[in-house]
């Protein structure tokens, strides 16, 4: 390791270092939970403030919340379909909001100012555990959605339109969560790394475009994750018209 001068302590970068909490025999990534609680707290504050006084003529934060709700409803309805989207709107919406606020929180909140013993605070979505957890939830959801709506006929989906598709569809069940989790994880981590490296090399102005690009990517990643999750659920509940 080349000893780098500690000129700018805030531009330091730590990858793969975890702030471990111990819970019995289990290890937890404390920094992920800390930042996710901040994110969840921010989300809940926004929601509670916005829904405290709901009126027919929306005012203030209610406008924002209704805009979000409308946006998420359109997303869910488009992907899942008119019949089933109501059941899944909260899940899809929560995924979108959580990922979006995580990503933007990771980019916008000055986490570096908060010292923790090991590792560093950042976007919870830059940790593989978070993204895999959400991707597995998506997998469970679409299985549940398909099975609860169609019963065992759900497995007809694996042999449609021809039984030749069977192995591919089975492989898809594994690639879906894999691609979901790694796409999000990779994008957010890469964004943080790029910004970190640029800030380390040239701390003035140069990282700004990368930061803006990062914000853009973050929003897009949240949208992609939510859209794909909705799409998988929609695929599972889709009724084949013979």
């Amino acid at each position: 390791m080349v000893p780098l001068p500690q000129l700018l302590p805030f531009a330091e970068l730590e990858v793969g270092k975890q702030f471990y909490w111990h819970l019995g025999n289990f290890h937890l990534h404390g920094q992920v939970f800390l930042s996710s609680w901040v994110v969840i707290g921010a989300l809940l504050t926004l929601v509670v403030v916005g829904t405290r006084t709901m009126e027919r003529e929306p005012r203030g934060v209610q406008n924002l919340l209704e805009f979000l709700w409308d946006y998420l409803r359109d997303l869910a309805r488009e992907q899942i379909g008119e019949k089933a989207y109501r059941d899944w709107l909260p899940f899809i919406g929560t995924l979108f909001l959580f990922i979006f606020v995580c990503n933007w929180g990771g980019a916008l909140i000055p986490w570096k100012l908060i010292e923790i013993p090991n590792g560093e605070l950042g976007a919870p979505t830059a940790d593989i555990n978070t993204t895999v957890a959400m991707a597995l939830l998506v997998s469970l959801s679409y299985f549940y959605a398909g099975l609860s709506r169609k019963g065992l006929r759900y497995f007809e989906y694996y042999v449609e339109p021809t039984p030749i598709m069977l192995p591919f569809k089975i492989i898809e069940d594994f690639t879906k969560p894999l691609s979901l989790s790694f796409r999000l994880f990779g994008n957010i981590l890469a964004d943080e790394l790029v910004v970190g490296v640029l800030a380390f090399l040239v701390p003035v102005l140069v990282p700004l475009p990368a930061m803006f690009l990062g914000l853009f990517t973050s929003a897009i990643q949240a949208l992609i994750f939510a859209t794909l999750a909705a799409n998988y659920i929609g695929e599972a509940v889709h009724e084949e018209h013979h």
Binding site: M1, L4, Q6, E12, L13, E14, V15, G16, K17, Q18, Y20, L23, F26, H27, L28, H29, V32, F33, S36, I40, L43, L44, V47, V48, G50, T51, M54, E55, R56, P58, Q62, L65, E66, W69, D70, R73, L89, P90, F91, G93, T94, L95, L97, F98, G119, P124, D127, I128, N129, T130, V132, A133, M134, L136, L137, L189, L193, V197, F200
Partner: protein, 160 residues
């Protein structure tokens, strides 16, 4: 230590929890539980109330719209009705005016004819009276002239 871009050391074994980029542990299920909890909380605090308000409003707008449409149709119907009535009334008025004009004309003609005949009659009467008086006067004059003539004759031809 400032270990910088320690990607290579991601899987390196050091202490009990060795860390690294792909360090899957109990964070995963707990995070999943957290996300599920968040889903339920957001459903109760956000999706349900906001959805209710938005759908209430959509319903309200739809019913007011239908109501307004109905009222508009009613107004249009009433308007057409009134226009029809107005047209009828106009025609009636026109008819009345025409009739009145004709009646006035008739009355005028009648009165004119009456006045003319009266005038004719009185003129005729006057003419007749004048004629009668003239006849009387002529007769009186004739009698006078006869008397005068007899007188002259009597004077010029004295008793023989």
């Amino acid at each position: 230590m400032s270990s910088w871009l320690l990607l290579a050391a991601a899987g390196a074994a050091s202490s009990a929890p060795e860390g690294g980029l792909f360090d899957l542990d109990a964070t995963l299920p707990l995070m999943a539980v957290q996300v599920v909890l968040l889903t339920f909380i957001l459903n109760a605090l956000f999706f349900r109330p906001v959805g209710r308000v938005v759908e209430d409003r959509e319903g309200y707008i739809a019913t007011s719209r239908a109501d307004a449409k109905q009222k508009l149709a009613q107004v249009q119907r009433l308007e057409a009705d009134l226009a029809e009535q107005l047209k009828g009334a106009r025609q009636q008025a026109q008819q009345l005016i025409l009739e009145a004009e004709q009646e006035v004309d008739k009355l005028y003609r009648e009165a004119l004819a009456l006045a003319q005949s009266e005038a004719n009659a009185s003129r005729e009467q006057a003419r007749r009276e004048i004629e009668k008086e003239r006849d009387q006067a002529l007769a009186a004059l004739g009698a006078e002239s006869d008397r005068l003539g007899a007188l002259i004759v009597n004077r010029l031809l004295p008793a023989k």
